[in-house]
């Protein structure tokens, strides 16, 4: 039915099957849109956030998906600037994932702020000292870059590329991709960092506050490193998942293994600095502001196991596994390690968003709990469903995996 739209020489499931797959996600999308609509129309009283828990599920989601989406800039940088050609087979998929993550995050941010129509104020009179300003500027610029990187992939659709003007434009745009890759890496460096700085500058929240290195708190650099660790793992995992779901080979194992290695190296560096940072924070930063660090881990379910899980189980362990070629060659270990890397980074974002706000500051404060409302969950699922739908459509109609045709012929 839609065969004329599908890239030549690749096999896609029949149209009805595709619709059957999209349908539940479409319904989830509809539910999410309704939840988001309620939040916009009725206000944020629809959420379970409050004056004390002013950030919630959404900010956590934003931080996490943006870390996962870092694969787009990192692979772009490695491929176009450092000329690591082995990444050519996943770059298109990485761009789509990046676009999904960033556009999803920005969409949720627009629901999260109380006055979305005033978002342009940040551009009009920016407070250049705020991490959020840096984030806003970089995210908008980088989303533009991602759209420009996604455009050539769309223009490569079998029917669209037949239009000569599109083809010629795509060709010329693609030739300049190195510029976009460079700009993307530059912008990502700053906004991944600023998202970390977001918490690191909170002098009033000693659980999150960190010493400054230059003009940025240490979390600025830790976020960049952890995002660079999470990005390749996310590409690895999604590629594997798409291979499983579509029952096709899309990339060579070497590529996945290389992605795992990248993740492993970045994670090792990250864990090293994270450990040093944690020690300085426990022994100096936190006590010097009147907050004994062990008290943070003395409340509700948030024991020291959280720190242990973040640094050792989901940090050191997958890092060591991914550094060994033997484990990378084994599919099961490779995928498990990638899942652990992502879990560790997600846990880090969770701890910084949720634990920071749950912990008391004043002596007579209480440890707070927060459970998102269904409207918040719906808006969260909106991003997930949107991502699945956009990725599925892109996978079906656009050449996401250039090696697919070759691999299909090689068994």
């Amino acid at each position: 039915m839609d065969k004329h739209l599908i890239t030549r020489g690749v096999q896609r499931s029949p149209f009805w099957k595709f619709i059957l797959w999209i349908l539940p996600w479409g319904m989830l999308l509809g539910w999410g849109l309704y939840g988001a609509y309620l939040c916009l129309a009725e206000g944020l009283n629809q959420t379970n956030m409050d004056n004390r828990f002013a950030f919630g599920l959404w900010i956590y989601l934003d931080l996490t998906v943006i870390a996962f989406g870092a694969g787009a800039f990192f692979t772009g940088f490695l491929l176009y600037i450092l000329k690591r050609h082995e990444l050519k087979s996943v770059i298109n998929s990485a761009v789509v994932l990046g676009l999904i993550c960033y556009s999803g995050a920005i969409a949720v941010l627009m629901v999260d702020v109380g006055q979305p129509l005033r978002a342009w104020f940040t551009f009009w009179h920016p407070n250049v000292h705020s991490m959020l300003t840096e984030v806003t500027f970089c995210l908008t610029c980088y989303l533009t870059v991602l759209i420009l990187e996604y455009a050539p992939i769309v223009l490569k659709n079998r029917q669209i590329r037949k239009i000569p003007s599109y083809l010629v434009f795509e060709f010329n745009l693609h030739k300049l991709m190195v510029v976009f890759a460079g700009v993307g890496a530059f912008l990502s460096f700053f906004h991944q960092g600023s998202l970390g700085g977001l918490y690191g500058v909170l002098r009033g929240r000693p659980f999150a506050f960190r010493e400054e290195l230059g003009i940025w708190p240490s979390t600025f650099f830790l976020f960049i490193l952890s995002a660079m660790a999470a990005g390749p793992s996310f590409i690895l995992l999604t590629t594997w998942l798409v291979e499983k779901l579509s029952r096709k080979r899309l990339v060579k194992h070497e590529t996945l293994s290389y992605l795992g290695k990248l993740s492993g190296i970045m994670l090792t560096v990250y864990i090293l600095f994270k450990s040093i940072d944690t020690l300085i924070w426990i022994n100096s930063t936190s006590p010097s502001s009147g907050f004994p660090a062990f008290e943070y881990y003395d409340r509700a379910a948030f024991g020291t196991w959280v720190l242990f899980a973040e640094v050792v189980v989901f940090g050191l362990l997958p890092a060591l596994l991914l550094l060994r070629k033997r484990f990378r060659e084994h599919r099961g270990w490779l995928i498990t390690s990638a899942v652990f890397v992502l879990a560790g980074v997600a846990l880090n974002r969770f701890v910084l968003t949720i634990q920071t706000l749950a912990l008391p500051t004043l002596v007579f404060d209480e440890f707070l709990s927060y459970l998102p409302s269904w409207q918040e969950v719906a808006t969260f699922s909106l991003v997930i469903a949107y991502g699945v739908v956009l990725y599925s459509v892109s996978f079906r109609y656009l050449p996401l995996f250039p090696q697919e045709r070759e691999l299909a012929q090689s068994y």
Binding site: G114, P126, N127, S130, L198, L202, G204, S289, G290, F291
Partner: protein
């Protein structure tokens, strides 16, 4: 621009916790003065708006030895590294260099609530609902203070409306200096036991400057380094030790150890 040359006053407060009875007159007066709308029926203490809270604390001993203190808590007007100012992406929070007052500009606020997460005193409030007043009550609104809309953050600004008033009075007399007795925040005015003193901390002769230097004075979370301009006074050591966690812990150790 050198702020030191522009800064003329540093408005601050001193609250005597040994006098405060926890009657709550200050927070009522504050709400009336600043057009804080009454909460919806579904509101709770975490979603409602009140620029000032009165927190009850106990020393943990059993009756009849138990002691209670009440802590009126509002924006502490941090002077250094003001946490909420540096985080606001669009300059909706600013420290007035002439008065040292941390001001919130609701008309410019995006509602991102980043300042709320930055504030260690939880002194900032978000408008989760549209403001609403019962039939007829809107006639009693203070015409000097603009009500805030849904989706923006607000907080104590030492009754900015009253500062404007005082300045207008001074200007009418052809003076640039306001008369200190013309500028008194609503909470200070309403306190039946005169527990709250307000004034210019730069003015050595002012009561507030003297009290801030008293041995009974302390500030909450002063080790964060934000130099709040709201001082609390108490002669009771257990109350003083509520200032931060490290101190609070040292007390526990002496009790148990």
């Amino acid at each position: 621009m050198d702020q030191a040359t522009v800064k003329q006053s540093r408005y601050g407060m001193a609250i005597d916790l040994d006098r405060c009875t926890g009657c709550g007159a200050c927070l009522m007066a504050c709400a009336v003065e600043n057009n804080v709308s009454p909460g919806r029926p579904t509101v709770n203490e975490r979603t409602g708006t009140t620029w000032m809270r009165v927190i009850e604390v106990q020393d943990g001993r059993a009756f009849p030895a138990a002691e209670t203190a009440f802590i009126p808590m509002m924006c502490q007007q941090c002077e250094e590294e003001t946490p909420c100012v540096s985080v606001c992406p669009q300059n909706a929070v600013e420290v007035d260099p002439e008065t040292g007052i941390v001001g919130q500009i609701p008309q410019r606020c995006l509602g991102c609530r980043y300042c709320m997460t930055a504030c260690p005193y939880h002194a900032r409030y978000y408008n989760w609902w549209d403001p609403q007043w019962p039939e007829g009550m809107e006639k009693a609104l203070n015409p000097d203070v603009a009500p805030r809309m849904r989706g923006v953050v607000e907080k104590c600004n030492f009754c900015h409306g009253r500062l404007h008033d005082a300045r207008a009075k001074a200007a009418a007399k052809g003076s640039r200096e306001i008369n200190p007795t013309d500028y008194i925040p609503a909470c200070v005015e309403s306190c039946p036991v005169q527990a709250i003193t307000f004034g210019d901390l730069n003015d050595e002769a002012a009561d507030v400057a003297r009290q801030a230097k008293s041995e009974r004075a302390f500030r909450f979370l002063s080790r964060l380094g934000t130099e709040p301009k709201v001082y609390y006074l108490s002669g009771r050591s257990w109350v003083q030790r509520l200032a931060d966690r490290e101190l609070a812990r040292s007390k526990k150790e002496t009790v148990h150890g």
